[in-house]
Amino acid sequence: MPRISGTCAFAYLILLSSPLSVVFAEDDHTNHRMMFSESGLVMNNNHHTLPWDCAEISAEHQFVVSAGREYARGVPGMVFGMSQHEHKVEPCSRITVTFVNKDEVRHQWMVHGLPAYLYPTGMFHLEAMAGKQVRGTFIVPGDHKTYLVHCDMAQHMEKGMKGQLVVGNGSGNLWSVVGISDSFRRSDYLPGYTLHLIVLFTLVIFIFVFWRLRKT
């Protein structure tokens, strides 16, 4: 089973393997493995270290995810969007995501709930600056689970940038994923005269029933 052969070697690997001009840095507080450049940020990149429950890489996946306002076009009530809101992979897959930001503001593509022994705070994180793209790789564990994918800028998940990564059979759909699952806090979207209609209906039915009962 491959093991991390020291932070420096790991950094060197990343520098070699990445097409971007990246800088490696250690965050003093959280020890996140973090690379950043003018294009953005990759956190907890993992090409080689296998999760404990994986004997080998089962499959390779390459996803290109584009993000921005244009991907919310035609989605009522959403402002931001992603080109793909659901990804299905096999347990123990290695996933390389190229995250393309089509907006003039920052966006993120983050996976949560990964094993913390491999991904500090359980997170794999891509952040792309305006008009830029970043690429990162991670390996999912062997269990069947549905992971949250989102942009963690204030209100971006709520306004459309929520997705899910289904590993194996997954563990059920998450709420409020555009095109996949229903909105947990869906408004009623009733016309303004609904209350009048209810009163009118109640009156009509009441009078009708009263009249029928009186006849019998």
Partner: protein, 560 residues
Amino acid sequence: MITGKRRLLLLVMILISIVAYPPSWYPQAFRIQLTKWFGAPSYRSLPDSRQADSVQAEVFCPPDLSGRRKQHQIEGVTISESGLCVADNPYAVAAFVKGTNNVSHNTLMRSGLTLDAIEKGRDLDGDGDPDEIHIRLEVAELNGVSTESNRPVTQYAIAPGVQPGSWVFAPKLQGMARENFESVNARADLRLPSPAIRVEQGDRVKITLENTHYMPHTLHLHGADHRFALSNGQGNDGVPITSELPVLPGEARTYELQPRNAGTTFYHCHVQPHVHVAMGLQGLFIIEENRPNNWLQTMNVGAGFVRASSVAVKESFSREYDLHYTDLDAELGVRIQSSNDPREVTRSMHREYDVTDATVDYFTLNGRSFPYTFRESLVLTSGDENIKLRILNGGSEGIAFHTHGHKFTVTHKDGVLLPAASQTLQDVVWLASAERIDLALSTYNDGLHSYGPGIWPFHDHQRRGVTTDGIGPGGNISAIVYDEFLDENGWPKTQGVSYKPFFTEQYYQKQIPVWQSYAPGLFSDPANDWLMLGRVLVLTLALATISAMLMVNYTGRKKT
């Protein structure tokens, strides 16, 4: 007619209702007459005082685990010691001074800022400081709606348990909006108010508004010298009805200015300003006088104490504070929490909300209300100091700024120096909505400028300003605190009432009697009179039975 058993039941019920009817409800004249006949009824003790619920108070002053308060020397920048309980991130201060493009990666990572958050370029006048400044601002929503729970997300409390929905201009931060994945709280540098911004007179300043929010916004530089339009025709005033289209979500626009005059000015969003400014899209914009080697702290996150003051300020003052006052309307803020559909939110905020019928509920200083103001917005002094206060009233109405124990001098109004003859000593000054004043506060103990060491509150002297939704003490109360009255953690050694109640949600939810902590029993809530409740219920039962019987009798008679 009611007959037999029914008549008996009716009579019993009437009798019960007469007996159960509380004598204290009898007409007053009748009661007096009864007293004349029989004398006053015998003594009944009033209900006891209710026992105080045990509530958990927050820690007044959270420990400074990462040593932010002490003096730092980062990237060659001296970041002065902050005596306050909660201090700014010194690495962010260093990055604001040097420019995020000019600091080491370690400093940048620890600052939490992106590489392009504050870019500082060439020194155009050759005086040893950069004159090309590129600032990037994002727009963030605090206490917004969650799609997964009824609690808001990216939470920010202005006081214990008080989390009004708000919008802010924010520095361009790297990574998540929350503290961490498990938390629903906004990270510490994502907060109210929008950051105070500092540039130097004559700087070529670019400010890019990167609209990360789901609504349209602009940037309007209120009182700062800027052109109406750029040379390419792009509007530069930020006013949708006269200058340019708003910046839509996901889009960015760069505003430019090269201010010819120094002064304390104001920036805010100008899209539907009666709502957007009220939501928090407002901040101090300070143009410092041009001096050699004048490296400015381009942003002061959360306003308050300036840890790296300008050369000109240091010439005359030992400390400088940015004081940003504003007010918030709970009925407005809640509208972003009531739906996740931006179309519904827009309708609710811009058509259903009527600012002409509105009343504000919360009064903040630097984005917090008392007691949180004591953590980060005290004005500290060792005595015999000249302190500069830059004050902005971003609220909907005027404030009557008042200091206890001191008379101050207003040196500038709306960024313009006042003639010497107008610079008189005063202890109350009126700030109209959007007005700025620069104020010189001397802590020289001469019985006029200062009455000597102590903990001297300062606040809006209008009565509602010292409350949080009508509960006092709250609102924008803060204090001038002399060293000998400050403990080593930055918390004032107050000698009055216990602060425990103020650090509970329940106090501001109006659940705790205001004097309970030091006069237990005397002014607590009285317990309920269960006997009285029993009486009222029996009376209700009897009257209901009587009316039901009469009704049955009436309808029954009609049928036959």
